[in-house]
């Protein structure tokens, strides 16, 4: 076991939590991520393997899916981002590669992203200041790529109108956090 102590994307030793009214923004460092892109002519086989890992059909464009071990959202044609609990799945890329073999290219993405959960009854008031997502139709299980404060982010509806997960570029975690908390102060 190595002896290096991690820090969160926001530079702290513990996850940052900010609340305004009934809406809470929580930094979620314990997410392990790996991108999975089907190899050419292996698309069906790759999807089949992922279905087995997820225990459900692979998500279609604009959607996310959640299984017992892994969750996934669509990122491109025959391409998904898989996530798992960092604790126990830090080697997520290696684990998935072992499953998919030559059917897919797998790349560790865990620390490429900062992950925030935005939870509360009025999250849509915050989100509409941040990103161009049609919140009137952003049902549970929808996932989309969008721009927040000029940053390419993924937004996943984990409970429509109640909670979303936002993935943004890790190096810009401070800027993204500032943008979200500013919008919270403005909207709530």
């Amino acid at each position: 076991m190595h002896d290096l102590t991690p820090i969160t994307a926001l530079g702290g030793s513990a996850a940052r939590v900010d609340s305004v009214g009934d809406v809470t923004l929580t930094e979620v460092p314990d997410v392990a991520l790996a991108s999975v892109a089907a190899r050419r002519r292996q698309e069906a086989a790759c999807a089949q393997t992922l279905e087995r890992l997820l225990g459900t059909a692979v998500p279609l464009p604009g959607y996310a899916a959640e299984g017992a071990e892994y969750a996934a959202f669509w990122t491109g044609p025959d391409q998904w981002m898989l996530s798992a609990d960092f604790n126990g799945y830090e080697d997520v890329a290696a684990r998935i590669k072992a499953e998919v073999g030559d059917r897919a290219s797998v790349t560790e993405q865990t620390d490429a992203w900062v992950c925030f959960d935005l939870v509360g009854g009025r999250i849509n008031a915050v989100l509409e200041l941040l990103c161009n997502v049609d919140l009137t139709r952003f049902e549970t299980g929808r996932a989309t790529r969008t721009s927040i404060h000029h940053l390419g982010c993924y937004v996943i509806s984990t409970n429509a109108g109640q909670s979303v997960r936002i993935l943004g570029p890790r190096a810009s975690a401070d800027s993204l956090h500032h943008a979200i908390t500013t919008a919270m102060a403005s909207a709530l």
């Binding site: 050419r40 290219s105 560790e108 161009n132 919008a183």
Partner: protein, 981 residues
């Protein structure tokens, strides 16, 4: 007496009194008032001065079309010029100042212009300031600049914040008058996602300004009740105080919400305004209509206003500009004003109706077939002169005159995508027509349905049509249904100084002069006379100008046409267009994994793209950046230094065709690169010019990690995706950026291996034999953490780059510092990095400047001829391969004290110094602590064959001439022994 002209009734909260000032004088008003209504209630009619002639002016309207009553609102940094008093909501403590006058509003010295009006006609500037030409810059322009403009800027930063946001809907309804409200009710009850936006703070439109009933209740009550029901529908979003400023492509509308303008200051954390981008599947424009004036001599005195505005002030705001009022009308609507005002106790001096057959009244005198021909009153109306049907002149005493020339539908937003309105003869007005923005329909007065019933009905019908609703249409609430015909009456015959555009002081005479001088196009008329320009964009004036122009040209108004309507619909604060993107928030920043640690070390940061990189790490006692940088370079070359190079782009390239793919994007070969090896690669653009350089490390048969320069990371990734998707769609290759996933540090210097051996787990052999120059491997560090190690060097020293998952980057840097203590490890920043790469002769952004080729960079032979790659063919163009092509060289001043400057040009040791004799230029320069002098890199014609030649480095801009010797670009370790040690 306060609020002398306050009437009974109205939609104001009389239980609360608000204090405000205008030009320093204190007044009282009530919630629900606008600044204009409160001033009128306080018997203040004079609110501004006109642009050119500085004529005294009061409000002409009660809405956003106002040309006259524009003031400076607030003070200090929040001072806002050109605010319409007619839309500014009153709040306690509001302070307003009149503008465009000196020294005071009642006595304005610049009103002398009015006396000089015979000279200051249309085109005055163009005719007058032609000669002498030398006068323009020093005399004319400063004078014109001083005289121009209306309000003044605070010249201080705006203390408020602005937001931007996005909303989506099935139906966007613009305007919450009878048509908009009934449309929203219809669509909302049907379950559609509806946005109802209105620029007013009270929804209802004209219903709030009229006394007639809707569904057996007052129009205002019906509006209030409807808004209350809409508020209960979760699928309907009400947006009062929101002006839809533009109709843009693909059903996108810009809408400015005034969140805090009705407050003294925005609440903490709240924006002043929000610019909403509304994505609407369908849009229904219910923008209503604007009453049009009639032009007659001196029709601009304070107290003269549009008749329906006069009525609105009385009905909605319980205010009147005077207790004795006359009406000048060509239609029945003017009589409605007379009735409503009289019911409020205002004395009607007369209704002057241009129609011979105008209906008489038992309640007030009607002058049939009469016209107002002139007015009196210096700072406010006192008398009007009426030419009666029999030709006699009668003087009528009054403090206000309501003028009604009919109504113009507000077609503006229908034309934002270059659609043109069409002429409706029965209304004598332009109505929406031609090509509307896709998805837009129009209802109510905006579509020419001028009666309340017509508006209610057309609103509901249009909403049903837009949403494709089937079934029986709901009943339309009962309301007045006066016939909607209008007879044109644009101006009183024989008038001259009759104002068409009150904001820009354009008179009937000016339009005639413009025509006389040959301006036939309506667009030319606009530019020459300034008709329809400025903050009101001619909402009350355009049609009058067109009518006169048509008459002079012997054409019809539709033949003359209109000018183009463009966004924004009303003046928009620049701040709201910027949103939060200002100051430090102009763009996001990117922080390296060692940022927290670097900050603790007191690093000085520099912005590179969005990245903040440590530039150098000053130590106590160091007073100049050069001291820090020289120390960092010397220490690294002497022992070991560490630099965060996470910012370099990292792209994971996988797939069975990964090597073939890289063979295409790089000009040099990669197919045969062994697993566990790294290779320098150069990418060319299609045109053969160098695009970017970096390394590609082969971690597996089907996996490479490509690095790019920091600045080009995004562009290179984009380029590679283009190649993958468009040029090689059949290839089995997958790309993804991993730049931020890995914290990557350069560990450089003769002791770098010894330091890393303390970090890298012992089962990985990193000796020179086990891990030679250009090796790469997946390893573990610090007891099992997955990591990557590359033996590559930018500094020219024995060096490695080590990468760990970003979350461990901070800890790894601290560990390197602790473990490196015995080697005096030194963190170094981008400046030292730059110095060392110049000493080593490595090209960087300065050399890859978008004009240089592989040949110029001394890498001509790298462009493989045994394979095809992007840019390789065009790099063979004769023009890029001339015998004396520029070649990268090193430059060493003959005198150690001399400066070398990047950007300086190279000339032969003697001879002319000019562009024709240019030999090349310097791209990079630095002080080399290793050599004890400044050195440079540059491009020199036929440079490879000119080693040892003395040249002059000249910089005419900085007046520098230095003798330099052409040397190898590799100042340090030219044989490369250190990197292989």
């Amino acid at each position: 007496m306060t609020q002398k002209n306050r009437l009974n009734g109205g939609q104001i909260d009389r239980d609360t009194t608000l204090s405000f000032t205008f030009d320093g004088k204190h007044y009282k008003g009530h919630p629900g008032d606008t600044l204009a209504s409160a001033l009128l209630a306080n018997n203040v009619r004079l609110m501004g001065r006109s642009f050119k002639y500085h004529r005294p002016r009061g409000p002409l309207t009660a809405g956003s079309e106002e040309p006259n009553a524009i003031v400076e609102l607030r003070s200090g940094a929040r001072q806002e010029p050109n605010t319409r008093a007619t839309t500014a909501e009153l709040f306690d403590g509001l302070s307003a100042t009149s503008q465009n006058r000196w020294p005071s509003l009642t006595f304005d010295a610049m009103a002398i212009n009015d006396r000089l009006s015979n000279f200051l006609t249309a085109g005055f500037y163009y005719k007058t300031f032609m000669w002498p030409a030398a006068f323009w810059e020093k005399i004319y322009e400063p004078i014109i600049r001083k005289a121009a403009g209306l309000g003044s800027l605070s010249m201080r930063a705006d203390p408020d914040t602005y937001d931007k946001g996005f909303r989506h809907c099935d139906l966007l309804i613009i305007g919450a008058g009878p048509a908009g409200l009934n449309a929203a009710l219809t669509a909302g009850r049907a379950g559609a996602q509806v946005i109802l936006a209105d620029e007013d703070f009270r929804m209802g439109g004209r219903l709030n300004a009229e006394t007639y009933s809707v569904a057996d209740m007052s129009g205002a009550d019906w509006a209030r009740q409807t808004v209350a029901e809409l508020a209960t529908l979760s699928n309907v979003r009400l947006m009062p105080r929101t002006t839809v400023i533009g109709a843009f492509d693909h059903g996108i509308y810009g809408a400015v919400k005034r969140v805090s303008d009705h407050l003294a200051t925005p609440a903490a954390g709240k924006p002043r305004q929000i610019l909403w981008r509304i994505y609407a599947k369908q849009t229904l424009l219910c923008a209503g209509a604007t009453e049009r004036p009639i032009a007659f001599d001196n029709n601009d005195r304070p107290g003269i206003m549009l008749a329906a505005s006069l009525r609105a002030y009385a009905t909605r705001w319980a205010a009147t500009p005077a207790q004795r009022v006359a009406i000048f009308t060509n239609n029945d609507d003017g009589h409605r004003t007379a009735r409503d005002l009289q019911a409020k106790g205002v004395k009607i001096a007369a209704v002057i109706d241009t129609r011979q057959d105008a209906a008489r009244s038992y309640d007030y005198e009607v002058l049939q077939g009469a016209q107002v021909v002139d007015t009196k009153g210096r700072l406010g109306l006192t008398f009007v002169e009426v030419k009666q049907a029999d030709g006699s002149i009668r003087t009528v005493e009054c403090g206000a005159l309501g003028v009604s020339g009919g109504w113009n539908p507000n077609v503006h937003l229908t034309c934002h995508q270059r659609g043109r309105p069409t002429w409706n003869d029965s209304l004598a007005a332009f109505v929406p027509g031609g090509t509307l923005p896709p998805g837009m329909s129009v209802a109510g007065a905006a579509n020419g349905d001028l009666s309340t019933h017509g508006a209610l009905k057309s609103g509901a019908e249009a909403a049903r049509k837009a949403l494709g609703l089937k079934g029986r249409a709901p009943a339309v609430p009962q309301a007045e249904d006066a016939p909607g015909t209008q007879t044109p009456f644009w101006y009183v015959e024989g008038c001259s100084r009759a104002w068409l555009d009150q904001q820009n002081d354009v008179t009937v005479k000016d339009v005639k002069l413009s025509h006389q001088e040959g301006f036939r196009s309506v667009e030319h008329l606009k530019r020459y006379t300034t008709l329809g320009m400025a903050t009101d964009q001619g909402k009350t004036s355009n049609i009058g100008g067109l009518a006169i122009m048509a008459e002079l040209a012997g054409k019809s108004i539709p033949e003359v046409g209109t000018t183009i309507f463009r966004p924004p619909y009303t003046p928009t604060a620049i701040g709201v267009l910027a949103g939060r993107m200002r100051g430090k928030e102009f763009h996001p920043t990117r922080l390296t994994p060692s940022h927290v640690w670097a900050k603790e070390r007191g690093a000085v940061f520099v912005e590179v793209g969005n990245w903040l990189r440590a530039q150098w790490f000053p130590l106590p006692g160091e007073t100049h950046w050069r001291q820090s940088v020289d120390r960092e370079v010397t220490a690294t070359r002497a022992s070991v230094g560490v630099c965060d190079c996470t910012t370099l782009g990292k792209i994971d390239v996988q797939g069975s065709d990964a090597a073939t793919f890289l063979n295409t994007v790089y000009c040099n070969g990669f197919a045969k690169l062994a697993v566990g090896k790294t290779r320098y690669g150069l990418m060319l653009r299609e045109d053969g010019i160098a695009m970017d350089d970096g390394t590609a490390a082969r971690l597996a048969e089907d996996q490479f990690v490509v690095t790019t320069t920091t600045a080009n990371a995004g562009r290179v990734y984009q380029h590679m995706e283009f190649v993958r998707q468009c040029l090689m769609p059949e290839a089995d290759v997958q790309l993804i950026s991993t730049t931020e996933a890995w914290a990557q540090y350069a560990v450089a210097g003769p002791n770098s291996r010894r330091l890393l051996q303390k970090i890298v787990d012992p089962d990985h052999d990193i000796s020179n034999e086990g891990f030679p120059f250009m090796a790469c491997a997946n390893i573990t560090v610090c007891g099992g953490l997955r990591a990557r190690l590359f033996r590559i060097s930018f500094s020219g020293e024995l060096a490695f780059e080590i990468a760990v998952p970003s979350r461990y980057g901070d800890a790894l840097m601290r560990r390197l510092m602790t473990e490196g203590e015995e080697f005096d490890v030194t963190p170094y920043g981008t400046e030292a990095l730059g110095v060392m790469r110049i000493e080593k002769g490595h090209a960087a952004g300065n050399e890859l400047n978008g004009t240089t080729t592989a040949l110029n960079l001394g890498m001509g032979r790298m462009v493989s001829k045994s394979k095809d790659s992007i840019g390789s063919k065009l790099s063979e163009r004769p023009g890029l391969n001339e015998a004396d092509a520029l070649m990268q060289v090193g430059l060493r001043p003959l005198s150690a004290e001399d400066k070398v400057t990047a950007g300086g040009h190279l000339m032969k040791a003697s001879g002319l110094v000019d562009a024709a004799h240019d030999q090349g230029y310097v791209t990079s320069a630095a002080y080399s602590p290793t050599l004890g002098r400044m050195i440079g890199l540059g491009f020199l014609k036929d440079g490879g064959n000119r080693m040892g030649e003395t040249l002059r480095l000249v910089s005419p801009v900085t007046d520098l001439t230095v003798e330099v010797e052409v040397v190898s670009a590799h100042f340090v370790d030219p044989e490369g022994e250190r990197v292989r040690a």
